[in-house]
Subunit: 624 residues, 2 copies
């Protein structure tokens, strides 16, 4: 290997959604950063659905944005249909989603990366890590070059030993049309990493010219598209609709007729697939009673005829694919442009990670994205961001940034991964978060902007406009609690309309706003100036006031568990010497090696009694 | 293999510059066409320099356009610097060149193909041909599908058994970042094709942010960019400059120091490279006396920092690349984004082709582009166009369209390929054409539009505006020959200025225009209306009148050889039975199997005497 003369602080392997955020974060924090990828033309390529966000995933995007990441701004600039989901439900589960122009999405991300100071981009396949005394010091590449770096972030996605399946046919590939990554995961195994096999699948890409859209239901985005990023003013680009179609009993018949040639059912695929994101054959097998399944036919861009039938992923043979897609009403003549396929790939069990995403086995090595067993762009991006941040902090000899389960979905996800590990593709859900009312999309900036700024990722300009917003909310909350409506001052009519007839005392604006269905718009009848506040501020006033009670209760829960979460367990803790632990608890702790008492408490099989003993032992030995 | 139910008239394998033109031509001629490619995101990707046209290549683009191809319109829509070369020289060697925004170029081409009726696009690797009784009937693919087609056009570029070299490191790939095509060429060998090995190389892509452009010379495009296509009105998009830099003796020292690790000089590369497009190490070795070589630093697009240093291709090891590029003034800090590399690939000797580009061994199978041993986008596109046309004509049971050496550069190129074969990458040069004055860029439409229209490729609207232009030229030529300037009518001053003082007789406008340096602009002083004619028409008047004598002489030469060119030799001609032929001539004819006497006359080793004997034999046997 020939050693490159420039030495980097952070080397990021991979330019998927994880790699891009990792590299941008490290570079924006001023660390000389190198991003290596197999193909510079496939930066931030969307391997599967051309969309960002959705339930719980939208939360991740907002958190990424709040911390200073790029995903939100990138989709704002290239989205072609924005929708807020669950608008009828409580603010905790409201979520943003947008469809992307896939080519523009990747081109813009490449452009942003190219404009970033302290960031070099190079096209080359990484074939191995350079490790000295348990510490990573660089990477070796296919071209015969060794790049040296103080830290390395691996974000290899579905590429490591990627194997593509279409029916009983299979061949190596990192993604359809892409070269796989060979060699890297063998090296990881040699260093003691628990390398496993997962699989995921994608539907066919269909030729929109051969679909009878007139016979399908149209679905439009929101009339006033709301941006993802807290710093995007407005979505300017034109929006397009997508279409809804359904399978039918005949479709399911066709699918069943192909199961004997399904690589999954024939036992050829060993990797475990995503339960929550099943292929169409899984759905048909698991829910035999359902006589139809819905699909959104989503455009892949404004300038292409390629469309993506969501939820219709499959690894069935190609003849079954033809017959099945054509069995759908409106798709009778459809031509497949790219076949559906499943892909198996190597991942590394994330229990071998610290909460900083640094590996426990090799110092200064971080893993982020699909390599950690997750699936989804947003999950990948969020981890990439944290890994990039923590690599940059490490180089600066600073403590890692670890988000708690009460601070961010990102914290929930990473905690889940590193304390529980995963044997199947992990995806974010709102149900995974115990403090859902605290972790809303709308307050992601209030939760995280300061942290992003403290580590140098959120720029001053963005930060000061955030501070102004925050102060406005606070001062306005005070005002609303003080200003009162005297029954005498309100007209008869208003009292009647608001159901306040007969009240004796003045009622504060805050009290008014606490009432269900009562909005700032309503309040403006007695306090017109409230409508001059920015919409984002009014939204906070409504939510914070309406849900104050619930929020308060969750905050108290957080307080109660704070001690557990903040009690660190030394890396070299010898569980064998703690008397009183059951054999099972001891074995679990030794295997998972939790970073904190909080993590320890979430390891399945570790009992509350065990936690108490461990806690006493920590106090006795380290005074923690 | 599972057989696809739809049967195509034309199947095009590959979506490079050859594949795109082939597929568009066949579909535009109304034939149900299928284009298959390894990666739909890499349609019309420019593997090497981000530019179209140049000497002789510009001629090809204009001819492609005149026949109804797409390359000219595509570069017109996405070019970022247009220049006409050789404007100081005669009209025969004037040539257009434009730099492209590489990503926009490929995206627009994909868009055009997607909008084309009768054209299906599918992503899949072709692994073999289906041949029955010496006739191709379809292709087999990696996904396990057999597609049936009445004709097949192979345009595999550099992908067949592609092997990438960087120094002594090598690995399979169709292009950097792309999967190779495996299996197809083995099958071709089995059918008796003479499969050889060629190589080509590309420079590194450099990070424009690390180049000191202020220290380099700027080169701007033409102030009024002139479109390639005869149907583009105007170039609207903003134009950008490129920059000129030079190697120096130290660069050459560095290069020499790496030669022992050059795959070429170390004998690892067996494929033959392009002589006229040498790598920088070739230049340094072959011209030891030169102490510098020039490079144009060309942007790869308006939105990217990647730049292309033309003429600086190399397969030297990466450490030599670093040192060498950085030895260039202004590039001292340069970062390589994608390394330079050479690629070896399989091609099929084009002497196994008819002039229609149909193979002689397998009926209905056509080869076009780099698979025929050529190099260059324009060469590929021109062949692709002809192969697509001829496949479509075959399906309609029509005679092939074969362009003569006096009709088009395309004719020269294909005739060269099929009569001489090639053992090294073939590139178009003006010097290859014997009738250069007939084959100008400016008259490509006059030469070829009618042919393009006759086969149904040039659309009516385009055609009628062509006819109008043609008629205008003809009527105007008549007018110019009739209208005269009487000495009495011209003022004293004008006569003096034009050097006509003392002439007795009236002089025709044509005579005036024939004088060197005399332009329509000059003539407008006595015939102002001439400036109302479109510029393209005035250009024709000047050129046709000024060069009439030379043109006439070349036309007479063409006439003389017309009989040879039009005399067809039957496919099953048995040369063994013609008495009088020397053993060598007999062997050459039997091996090359020329389609016409003209082709036969150009086979090296076939003597004029041999041609006379052959000609007599043909007349005797077939009355030709
Ligand atoms: C077929 C398919 C179906 C999917 N289906 C779903 C789904 O249904 N739902 C869902 O949520 N998600 C799905 N995904 C997953 C989603 O695409 C990923 O979760 C997401 O892209 C992961 O991002 P990443 O950054 O971790 O990796 P990727 O986006 O895969 O990017 C990996 C990057 O690493 C680079 N790389 C890899 N190895 C090397 C190396 N050795 N050297 C240099 N560079 C390297 C690659 O070139 C690439 O740039 C699917 C993915 C695929 C391929
Ligand atoms: C490294 C490099 C350097 C070059 N340098 C020069 C140069 O200096 N000067 C110059 O003039 N030209 C150069 N070229 C050549 C130029 O790029 C080609 O001449 C031109 O692109 C050829 O066009 P094509 O259509 O024949 O093939 P390509 O552009 O190579 O396209 C081939 C297409 O076929 C597809 N394909 C291949 N096999 C299969 C299969 N089995 N199944 C399905 N699809 C398949 C590919 O996916 C691709 O779409 C270089 C090319 C490379 C790669």
């Amino acid at each position: 290997m020939i050693v490159y003369d420039k030495k980097y602080d952070v080397i990021v392997v991979g330019a998927g959604h994880a790699g891009c955020e990792a590299a941008l974060a490290a570079a924006r924090m001023g660390r000389p950063t190198l991003m290596l990828t197999i193909n510079l033309d496939a930066i931030a390529l969307m391997s599967c659905n051309p969309a960002i966000g959705g339930l719980a995933k939208g939360h991740l995007v907002k958190e990424i944005d709040a911390l200073g990441g790029e995903m939100g701004r990138n989709i704002d600039a290239t989205g072609i249909q924005f929708r807020v989901l669950n608008t009828k439900k409580g603010p905790a589960v409201r979520a943003s989603r947008a469809q992307a122009d896939k080519q523009l999405y990747r081109l813009r991300m490449k452009h942003v990366m190219e404009q970033q100071d302290d960031l070099d981009l190079k096209q080359v396949e990484v074939t191995g890590l350079v490790i000295e005394d348990g510490e990573v010091v660089g990477v070796d590449t296919r071209g015969g070059v060794r790049f040296l770096g103080k830290t390395v972030v691996l974000t290899t996605g579905t590429f490591m030993r990627g194997l593509i399946h279409i029916g009983l046919v299979n061949y190596p590939g990192g993604r359809a049309g892409d070269l796989p990554s060979i060699g890297l995961s063998d090296g990881l195994k040699d260093y003691g990493f628990d390398v496993g096999r997962l699989k995921t699948g994608t539907p066919a890409r269909l030729d929109g010219r051969t679909i009878d859209f007139d016979r399908l239901e149209k679905q439009y985005g929101d009339e006033n598209p709301i941006p993802f990023s807290f710093s995007t003013e407005r979505i300017e680009q034109p929006q397009v609709p997508c279409h809804i179609a359904y399978t039918n009993p005949r479709s399911h018949e066709i699918i069943r007729s192909g199961l004997d040639r399904s690589p999954l059912y024939a036992g050829i695929i060993e990797g475990i697939g995503p339960r929550y994101c099943p292929s169409i054959e899984d759905k048909v097998v698991r829910f035999p009673e359902k006589d139809r399944h819905q699909t959104f036919i989503e455009p892949e861009g404004r300038e292409t005829v390629e469309v993506y039938p969501s939820g219709m992923s499959t690894s069935l043979p190609i003849d079954i694919q033809w017959a099945f897609y054509r069995s759908i009403e409106g798709l009778e003549r459809v031509e497949i442009m790219r076949p559906a396929y499943a892909i198996e790939y190597d991942y590394v069990n994330p229990i071998q990670l610290h909460a900083s995403l640094e590996t426990k086995l090799v110092r200064n090595l971080y893993h982020a994205g699909q390599i950690n067993g997750t699936s989804g762009y947003e999950e990948a991006a969020a981890q990439g961001l944290m890994a990039g941040i923590n690599a940059a902090l490490r180089v600066q000899d600073k403590d890692p940034l670890v988000l708690g389960r009460s601070e961010a979905y990102i914290g929930v996800m990473i905690d889940d991964l590193v304390t529980l590990g995963t044997k199947e593709p992990y995806r974010m859900f709102t149900s995974r978060a115990e403090y859902r009312l605290l972790l809303r999309e709308d307050n992601a900036d209030l939760r995280l902007r300061e942290k992003g700024h403290a580590i140098g990722l959120v720029q001053e300009e963005v930060y000061s406009s955030f501070l102004a917003k925050k102060e406005l909310i606070e001062s306005e909350l005070v005002r609303l609690s003080k200003e009162r409506l005297a029954p005498s001052a309100a007209g008869e009519e208003l009292l009647e309309e608001w159901g306040l007839v007969g009240i004796q005392n003045a009622i504060s604006y805050e009290q008014l706003l606490r009432r269900p269905e009562f909005t700032c718009q309503d309040l403006s009848r007695v306090y017109p100036a409230i409508m001059d506040l920015p919409e984002q501020v009014r939204e906070q006033l409504e939510i914070q006031i309406k849900y104050q009670g619930y929020i308060q209760r969750q905050l108290e829960q957080v307080d109660r568990s704070a001690r557990l979460e903040s009690t660190r367990i030394p890396e070299d803790m010898d569980y064998g010497t703690i008397s009183g632990l059951s054999a099972e608890v001891r074995e679990k702790l030794a295997r998972f090696r939790p970073d904190t008492l909080g993590q320890a408490s979430r390891i399945p099989g570790v009992t509350p009694a065990g936690i108490t003993i461990l806690s006493i032992a920590l106090k006795a030995r380290y005074g923690r």
